[in-house]
Amino acid sequence: MSLWEQLKWSLRHSARQLLESILVVFAIGLGVGVLVTVLAMFLSMNEEFNKIGRIDYFRTLEIQGKTEAARWGSAPIALLGTDVSDHEWGASLSKIMELQQQLPSSMHVFVENGWAAASSLLPEEGGEDYYFYRGNEVFITGTLPEYFRFHDGVFKAGTYFLTEDVLSGNRVLVLSELLAEELFGAEPAVGRTVPLSVDDGEPLKFTVIGVVGPVSEDDEYSVFSGARMAWAPLTVSPFYRSAGEEANFRRVNVGVDQEVDLAQALGLVQSEASLIWGEGTVIVESNLDFWREATKTMQRQGLLIGLLASVGLFIAIINILNLMLARLLKRTKSIGLNIALGSSRWMVFRQFMMEAVSLGMAGALVGIALSFAFAELLKNSLSLFATAKLGARIGLGVAMGFVVSLLFGVYPAYLGSLINPVEALRNE
């Protein structure tokens, strides 16, 4: 008997007990549907996490003092050591540049020091981001040229400032694309001057040397996509001007290009940094650790929810196993007859397996269909994103259906193949 014929035969069998078969398929469907929904949700979250893991923020290592690291750690009390002066760790501009020289060009040392400054070119009312700027303010990030070499951006006009600009404190400005548009419309921005004043002080004139935007429009994580954002050499920051040569930065960032292994970079920065700032007083910490921790937490949650969600499927398996055993009992006589007439035991085994697999697959189809309904419900009631790809869902559902049919099919099929024809025919 060919596989195809066996399939037809098993379908006919299932059709004979239609109600029973429908119930079984529905039970598997419910079980598979819940599990596929949950797994699909976590797959899509995982994908999102991986996407986030590739953005610049997570490719940035941080150098900070022990106190600062303890402050952001989770322990209520942290040991700082024996030799802790009241003065906290800080990096001066010259030390930061020294570190850059020790590192390869695929690693970018920079600091960020932001401030808001008002410009008379902008309308009094209009700023919408309360935390960074208000009214006619612009949020300016004081930084180093390496910032632009690390973050991917497209210069629409001009270019970024150089180390010389930083060292001599030139008042030059790189505008975000949106800000350039707001300030100058369609006219070229490069070469124009922008008056900027901090805390109602005397406006200082900044010369625009570049306009930068994100690589693609839909890049939501780009640092260059902000509306009122501008960048200037670190040394023109009001903080730097008041602190003078002794200005110290509590956090130094090291951006690592995509092609460099982060763990290796971490080791290299750790050793170079301790040569400059002294052994044990500096901690290099990767933002990626937070991301890894978050990913792990998510996976643990997924595992737990998945386990609870699979209870239904497990019950369905028991349920079907039970039913298959009952069917086997009913057909003992006809199987005995088959074997007596020369059918091989392997054939009997295959017959029962075929029946189980066809039920399992039908259940999987119902489950996949149900999972779309469940995802819709989840989205509406809890605003969770459950948007895994269609292919992933079908794959998961079919795989689950197959595993389930193996789980409930093998034992009854094995029992069936053991039937002794003589006894089966003699017993009523």
């Binding site: 119930l23 009390i77 024996t82 969600a309 239904g312 009952a326």
Partner: protein
């Protein structure tokens, strides 16, 4: 008696089938019992905390308002409370206790030459311990006199004590806060306290060092002017917290101006997010549980159908011997009832054993809030789980029972 025998015969004849049926019922009961317990216990913990603190604890702040585009927004809260306000609010009959609480966020301390960073420290007044019910492991809280003299004493949490002075008493030990140009600042440890009971830290940050008010402020930071404080907590007569805050608003009316307003913040508000979260978890997991019970009831239905077909002959014979339709229906339903009951007992047993672990695990993974022990199997949850399962089992057993009853004896005997 006859019906019990009828069911027992099935169990003896088909032991594996009976076992599997019981097992799937047990699983269904287990998951429903666990998830309902989760809801009841977690909500219970939140309600407990609300009962203990919610009706009698409020934080008084001076909110700063700002007008933007014609609307008044609360922007921040200003430090505009003074030490004398503590005595002034006590004039209200509703207020039993009040304390000023100053968050220091962090404090560096040196013990035997080693410096540590303690991440949560606070300064407060002597009423604090009674008002929040602080439990001491050893020593005692500081007195009103300590508070007024800004004595150099400190209390530490048991977590900090464990790390700084393992296996020894912390009492009498010295914490050195450093040198601020007035010589070394040495604080004597006079007490070690337990961490807050669960959920209180949603309302008042959990400190790990507690100093008398302003004891760690240098003369420089204090200056000559009267120190200002950000928040003051009141403990009121039970369930009178809203009226008490209204009293405070009148008593401290001079602290409010055009854009400053004396306001109360309540424990209820700080737990509403958590309550919502518990509801969400219950909803998702409850859906799983419902589906599990549904599948298990479907299982009973299909297996009873098989069972009825197998016993067509027996049922026909009974009918021929005079059994009414009612008796036949009762017998089949009784069979599913026995399976449901045995399964329920098994499931409840499993739930009883595993509830504590499961609940703690789920709450820890899902909320990030320290609940302490969430508790185990909730009696109401157990009762509901059994009730739902048995009702579902009986409801789904009706169809096969009706199938059995509608057979005519002649047909049944012929078919069998």
């Amino acid at each position: 008696m006859e019906t019990v025998k009828f069911t027992l015969r099935i169990v003896r004849k088909r032991p594996l089938r009976s076992l599997l049926t019981v097992l799937q019922v047990a699983l269904g009961v287990w998951i429903v019992a666990i998830i309902l317990s989760l809801n009841f216990q977690a909500s219970g913990r939140i309600d407990d905390a609300k009962r203990t603190y919610g009706g009698s604890l409020a934080k008084i702040v001076v909110a700063q308002y700002e007008e933007i585009a014609g609307y008044r927004f609360m922007m921040s809260s200003a430090s505009n409370l003074r030490y004398g306000d503590l005595a002034r609010v006590q004039e209200s009959d509703l207020i039993e206790n009040a304390f000023i609480y100053r968050d220091l966020w962090e404090q560096q301390v040196t013990v035997r030459g080693l410096t540590y960073l303690v991440k949560a420290a606070a300064e407060t007044t002597s009423e604090y311990a009674d008002a929040i019910g602080l439990e001491l492991v050893e020593g005692q809280f500081f007195t009103k006199a300590d508070e007024q003299q800004r004595s150099r004493v400190v209390l530490i949490s048991e977590v900090v004590a464990e790390q700084l002075f393992p296996n020894q008493s912390a009492l009498g030990q010295i914490l050195d806060l450093g040198d601020f140009g007035e010589g070394s600042w040495e604080f004597e440890i006079i007490g070690v306290y337990k961490l807050y009971p669960p959920l209180l830290d949603l309302f008042i940050t959990q400190p790990h060092l507690i100093f008398p008010l302003d004891a760690t402020r240098t003369w420089m930071s204090l200056g000559d002017s009267e120190p200002l404080y950000h928040s003051l907590y009141i403990q009121t007569k039970p369930d009178r917290v809203y009226e008490a805050v209204a009293d405070v608003q009148i008593l401290l009316a001079d602290r409010a101006t055009d854009d400053l307003e004396v306001q109360g913040e309540y424990f209820e508000d700080s737990t509403s997010y958590l309550s919502d979260q518990v509801q969400d978890i219950t909803l998702i997991l409850g859906a799983f549980a419902f589906i599990a019970v549904l599948v298990s009831a479907i299982g009973i239905l299909s297996i009873m159908l098989v069972s009825v077909v197998e016993r067509t002959r027996e049922i026909g014979l009974r009918q021929a011997l005079g059994a009414t339709k009612g008796v036949i229906i009762w017998q089949i339903l009784n069979e599913s009832l026995v399976f449901s009951c045995v399964g329920s007992a098994l499931g409840l047993g499993a739930a009883l054993l595993s509830a504590n672990t499961m609940l703690t695990l789920i709450m820890a993974q899902a909320t990030y809030v320290k609940f302490g022990s969430v508790g185990g199997l909730h009696p109401l949850a157990a009762a509901l789980a059994v009730l739902v399962t048995i009702l579902m089992g009986q409801l789904f057993g009706l169809y096969p029972a009706w199938q059995a009853a509608k057979m005519t004896p002649v047909e049944a005997l012929k078919l069998g």
